[in-house]
């Protein structure tokens, strides 16, 4: 026998998906509301899960910089949702999603190697090394796209002066944070972690080289390399290492991650150079995010006045 029963539920009875997905918090909040009867907004806030992520700090009284470009800045949305941060996934939209809960509290940057005063810096100490400036830089990725970002930080050489490199220090090696637990997608990236980068000492001393702690007036979002990163505007973006934990001064040229991965594609210097192509694509042009057609790429990303002299007499085709 067939028992027919008219459906007594309509679509209006369906629990909204957002409430369903959030049912635990919903119940908790409802419980608190019921129990206290005077539940105001403050209680509602208490019911929210604790925020692990580095909450954005606003920076005020930022000094302006002569190095800043007057070109149109990219939107905050673009710069925070189009990222290469392979520890959090290789798709451009991955880091924004997967770095949400990246824990950057109690951050320490260790400075070691050929220096008279090796030491560890907490974030509070880093923020006091030098007055913070806003630097609006062009940022050119090796994948032939570019952005204009208002970074916040100070010339890296301020920190170098504090630790006093010895005469043996010829190069600076940088290392990113890596925790497979917080970065489970890192194992699929196809490159070795922790991510490492390096500069020649004179490049590191160049006033353009920025130790960066923020952008758009705030502390760095996780997907853009929180809480502290390098920004080297005349080099391809991958040189500007993110989420920095170690800086080592040394005599030898340090290994760098992409060079280790594919040596004939990515050199140690990786200066932006429209005349030296990536084996797979041309570097002559780039697409500024927000534009359809490509624009010509500038030598040293347009910073030749500040940096070209460092490479006098060097064959930049060989030292790509």
């Amino acid at each position: 026998m067939l028992i027919r029963k008219a459906p007594d539920l309509t679509y209006a009875d369906v629990t909204p998906k957002s409430v369903y997905l959030d049912r635990r918090r919903f119940l908790r909040v409802m419980g608190i509301v019921g129990a206290t009867a005077v539940a105001g907004k403050s209680l509602f806030d208490l019911a929210l899960p604790p925020q692990v992520a580095f909450a954005a700090t606003k920076f005020t009284n930022l000094a302006k910089s002569d190095f800043s470009t007057s070109e149109k800045q990219n939107s905050y949305e673009d710069v925070t949702h189009y990222n290469n941060f392979y520890e959090f996934g290789t798709d451009k939209s991955d880091p924004a999603k997967n770095a949400k809960n990246f824990n950057t509290s109690n951050w320490v940057v260790s400075v070691e190697g050929e220096v008279a005063k090796p030491r560890k810096f907490t974030m509070d100490e880093i923020l006091k090394v030098a007055p913070l400036e806003e630097r609006i830089y062009r940022h050119r990725c090796v994948e032939a796209w570019s952005i204009v970002v208002p970074w916040i930080g100070f010339s890296f050489n301020s920190l170098i002066k504090l630790v006093e490199p010895t005469p043996k220090a010829q190069f600076v090696a940088f290392q990113s944070y890596y925790d497979p637990g917080q970065m489970p997608l890192g194992r699929w990236a196809g490159i070795e972690f922790p991510y490492v980068e390096g500069l020649r000492l004179d490049e590191a001393m160049n006033p353009l080289t920025l130790l960066c702690v923020g952008m758009y007036g705030e502390s760095l979002p996780n997907q853009d390399g929180a809480p502290v990163r390098m920004v080297i505007p005349w080099k391809y973006g991958f040189k500007s290492i993110k989420s920095l934990v170690k800086i080592k001064f040394q005599q030898k040229m340090p290994p760098t991650t992409w060079n280790l991965s594919v040596p004939n594609w990515y050199g140690f210097y990786s200066n932006v150079n429209p005349n030296v192509n990536h084996p797979r694509w041309s570097q002559a042009k780039e697409r500024r995010l927000g534009e359809i057609f490509k624009r010509p790429t500038l030598m040293f990303n347009g910073y030749d006045d500040q940096v070209a002299s460092m490479y006098n007499g060097m064959d930049l085709k060989k030292n790509y």
Binding site: N74, H81, Y82, W145, W188, A189, S261, V262, R280
Partner: protein
């Protein structure tokens, strides 16, 4: 099942379904959903759908045989033409936004960069297949020759996978996944071809054996 497959409406429905990726792109374009680099997004999406439609097209023959659904053939041309449709969009994003329709630059790029070369070859291979996809052309060429020509899809699919593999910087899981699908579909054909050859040989041998027996 047969009625469903041969219904005119199924064909219309499948046709509309094949347009969903394009609709999704248009919808995103109108709702600011193409991300920070819209050209790249369209390029990637149309490229992936080209590969997917090539793979779907290559699935028709094995599915017809394995599932005993010969009527699936009714959809093969449509899937193949959609692969061509999406590769045309893909190619246009390269010609326009990437190269600003500068033919000299395009020619240099195609000649110089293996990943572009192989992608371009794959595209070229699909052109005659799209052109000769009509019943008239099948008649004009004759079934055998037409079939020979249309085996070019095997090479186009392989070219597409290599193009994708060479494009990716380090995380090659997606291209390998598509590569594995194409490999399975092509190996199935090699397998069929080998077993047919063997059965021909066996048939020949047994008929020779029979003749020998008869002669004895």
């Amino acid at each position: 099942m047969r009625a469903l497959l041969t219904s005119k409406w199924t064909k219309v429905a499948v046709f509309l379904l094949c347009l969903v990726p394009l609709d999704a792109l248009i919808w995103r374009a109108l709702h600011n959903g193409l991300g920070a680099n819209p050209v790249e997004f369209i390029q990637l999406t149309t490229g992936r759908w080209t590969l997917r439609f090539l793979i779907i097209t290559l699935c028709i023959t094995p599915f017809r045989k394995l599932l005993n659904l010969p009527d699936l053939i009714r959809f093969r041309r449509m899937f193949g033409l959609f692969a061509f449709f999406y590769v045309c969009l893909h190619f246009l994003t390269y010609l326009g936004p990437d190269q600003s329709f500068d033919l000299a630059a395009i020619w240099k790029d195609v000649a110089k960069r293996p990943f572009i070369t192989v992608g371009f070859l794959g595209f070229l291979l699909l052109v005659p297949l799209a052109m000769t996809s009509t019943a008239g052309w099948i008649r004009r060429l004759g079934g055998k020759r037409w079939q020979m020509l249309h085996r070019a899809i095997y090479f186009a699919a392989v070219a597409g996978v290599i193009h994708y593999y060479w494009k990716v910087k380090s995380d090659v899981r997606m291209p390998l996944f598509y590569g594995a699908l194409v490999a399975i579909l092509l190996l199935w054909r090699v397998g069929g071809w080998l077993s047919r050859r063997r059965s021909v040989v066996v048939a020949k041998l047994s008929s020779e054996g029979a003749r020998a027996d008869a002669a004895r």
